[in-house]
């Protein structure tokens, strides 16, 4: 897979109208096409704000974000065609079945009907949802709902996938299934940008990370290099070393 930069974040800041300080301050990062890139940090560090900017939900207060080196064919509008977003919340319709949810969101991604049907059935199968595909999601366990949430974000086979804590509150089996599938699609060429509070999971899953605290990037690079540079044995120790032990609420 190509290791060319696919997202370039250039001196980006963001300030919420009601806040006195920036939620993101002068963030500069480059994410490569082959990356499973971990955006890590304590609560309120600015991870979700950065993902929201990268997905186009919010525009940065200053700075800019480029995709694929600003290739001419990628406008702001069609950027949405190659971006997939899996939010932390169950952002779908729990009164509907997984099949109905995938039909709706697939259509919103402009998938033609035949392609949508084949992709829907493939995802239901791969993510272990085939047997419950016609049951209302509201009756599902947390792990099954997470898998539905993921399936919606990848139904259109995005080039870049943003995941905001995709495994929070799920059982070990579901977590394994989700991570395994994400590794598979990364091997097939999907760039993954991921946030999590599970350090062991992030250590296993990500090849490169950025640690964010108080809206600033405090460390970034290849995970293995960062561990060596900071003289620590694992990501959790690195995290505590750089962000401190004080509670973050």
């Amino acid at each position: 897979m190509s290791d060319l930069p696919c997202i370039h974040i250039d001196h980006t800041s963001y300030k919420y109208k009601s806040a006195s300080e920036n939620s993101l301050s002068d963030v500069s990062l480059t994410i490569n096409q082959s990356d499973v890139f971990g955006l890590l940090g304590p609560n309120g560090a600015g991870k979700t704000t950065l993902i929201s900017i990268l997905c186009g939900i919010m525009a940065p207060s200053s700075g800019r974000v480029n995709y694929y080196n600003n290739r001419a064919e990628i406008s702001d509008v069609n950027r949405r065609n190659f971006i997939g977003f899996v939010p932390q919340e169950y952002a779908f319709y729990q009164e509907l079945t997984p099949r109905q949810n995938l039909d709706y969101f697939g259509a919103m991604y402009n998938l033609p009907k035949t392609k949508l049907v084949s992709r829907r059935e493939e995802l239901l199968e791969v993510l272990g949802l085939s047997k419950v595909a016609d049951k209302k999601v509201e009756t599902f366990s947390g792990g099954m709902k997470r898998r539905v949430n993921l399936a919606i974000g990848i139904i259109h086979e995005p080039g870049i996938l943003f995941l905001d804590e995709p495994t929070v509150g799920v059982d070990v089996q579901s977590k394994n299934a989700i991570i395994r599938y994400l590794q598979e699609i990364n091997n097939l060429g999907t760039t993954i940008v991921y946030t999590s509070h599970h350090m062991s999971e992030a250590e296993e899953f990500c090849n490169r990370i950025a640690l964010i605290d108080n809206g600033r990037v405090i460390a970034k690079g290849v995970l293995a290099d960062l561990l060596v540079e900071n003289g620590v044995g694992n990501l959790q120790t690195l995290f505590i070393k750089l962000t401190g032990e004080a509670y973050r609420d």
Binding site: S52, M58, F85, E89, Y93, D103, M108
Partner: protein, 425 residues
């Protein structure tokens, strides 16, 4: 097109899964129309169609009491129930227990009192004219008093109207009696009929016209008030379903997720509005069908469909749009589903109360009639009134369409700006 179809299909699926919302939108108006129409029908009938039910106790020993009862009976205005065996004391109880609303008590000395008074008037006239008359002192009987009883729920002006009618028949009897007595005193025998006819029967007539732009003679009845009124109420009650639907999508991040997709948010809103406008039209179809086919079968007035069908469609559409826009606004403003449901439902009940849904605005005090102008439900109902009762021309509907148009615009703008603040649009 596939996108639009999928979006509308999703809204449809969400709607059919919302069983409580469906019950509120379809069963509630049917029940309300059915129950309230039956309850209000007798009151509307009393004003519009039926004879006034009148309980009469005539204890008069003479002819004049019977004459009065006959005059009231032949007037066609009253449905008289005579119970002469009752005492005046038990009249109140009988009135309330028989549901008659009004009663008239004619005392024992009624004829004697009237004749005595007519004799006195005749003597004065003969004296003034210098004519001879029997001047022997006769026992004078004081002018009788009729007793009029009314149910406390009856409006005061209605009671006064009925008393006015009785009073006018009393004038006929008294005048007739005086003329007879004078002719008798002057020994003119039975030549009084010509004068009585001239004086009593040949009165100035009043022609009554129903103010309407068409030749429609339809007058309000319980069905024509309740069917559109409760349909509008139910239309606006979609705030419970649509409003909480919007809150849910805002809160769970579905709207934000859509923002990352190559789709327009307008498509989402258009789909929602389309489905709920169809719901509103179906509500009209269901409740109006009930008014046309079911209510007449249980003895209630039939709903007559207005002749200007295009205007009818326009009023249904703009009322639906007003209800949908209000629900969108509540959905955009409320922070939780509980807020949307609670505030939405209560605000509709208040709008309904001041808008003339529960009680027609014409019976409200002046300041409440003014307040009704601020209720969108009032303007929707006004639109249906113009169609049903006044043969509704576009000219008359202009104010209704204008007000509802402004209301829709305000709601849509509030929705837009609130969603923009939340960065959903």
């Amino acid at each position: 097109m596939f996108k639009l179809y999928s979006s509308i299909r999703k809204e449809f699926l969400l709607l059919v899964n919302d069983k409580v919302g469906l019950a509120l939108m379809f069963l509630m108006p049917l029940l309300l129309v059915f129950i309230i129409t039956i309850i209000q029908d007798s009151a509307y009938k009393m004003v519009n169609e039926n004879k006034i039910p009148l309980l009469v106790i005539n204890h008069d020993g003479g002819l004049e009491g019977r004459k009065l009862v006959n005059l009231l009976a032949v007037s066609g205005l009253f449905k008289i129930d005579t119970l002469n065996e009752l005492s005046q004391n038990s009249l109140k109880t009988e009135l309330l227990s028989r549901g008659k609303m009004i009663a008239l008590y004619i005392p024992q000395t009624f004829s004697d009192g009237l004749e005595s008074n007519a004799g006195d008037v005749s003597k004065i006239l003969m004296n003034d004219l210098g004519l001879e008359f029997d001047s022997t002192k006769q026992k004078s009987i004081s002018l009788p008093t009729l007793s009029f009883y009314s149910d406390p729920v009856l409006q005061e002006n209605y009671s006064y109207s009925v008393m006015g009618i009785i009073q006018s028949y009393m004038s006929v009897i008294e005048n007739s009696l005086m003329i007879d007595r004078m002719y008798m005193t002057m020994d003119l025998g039975d030549k009084s009929s010509k004068l009585k006819d001239r004086m009593i029967s040949n009165r100035v007539k009043i022609d009554h016209f129903v103010a309407s732009t068409s030749n429609s003679t339809v007058i309000p009845n319980s069905t024509q008030h309740n069917v559109p009124a409760w349909t509008i109420f139910a239309m606006f009650f979609m705030v419970v379903s649509l409003g909480s639907n919007i809150v849910k999508e805002r809160v769970n991040g579905s709207f934000l997720r859509l923002k990352t997709m190559p789709t327009s948010f307008m498509l989402v809103m258009f789909s929602k509005m389309s489905i709920y406008v169809v719901v509103a039209v179906l509500q009209v179809a269901v409740t109006f069908s009930m008014g046309i086919w079911v209510l007449p079968k249980i003895g209630l007035p039939e709903l007559t469909i207005p002749s200007n069908f295009l205007a009818f469609v326009a009023v249904v559409f703009i009322s639906s749009m007003a209800a949908v826009s209000y629900a969108l606004m509540i959905g955009a403003i409320a922070k939780t589903q509980e807020q949307a449901n609670g505030f939405g439902a209560i605000s509709i009940i208040i709008f309904g109360a001041i808008g003339g849904i529960l009680v027609p605005t014409f019976v409200m005090p002046g300041f409440m009639q003014f307040a009704s102008n601020f209720s969108p439900l009032h303007w929707c109902l006004e639109g249906f009134y113009i169609l049903f009762l006044k043969g509704g021309s576009w000219q008359e509907l202009r104010t209704v369409l204008l007000f509802l148009g402004v209301f829709i615009l305000i709601c849509q703008l509030c929705t837009y700006f609130k969603l923009r603040i939340e960065k959903i649009i």
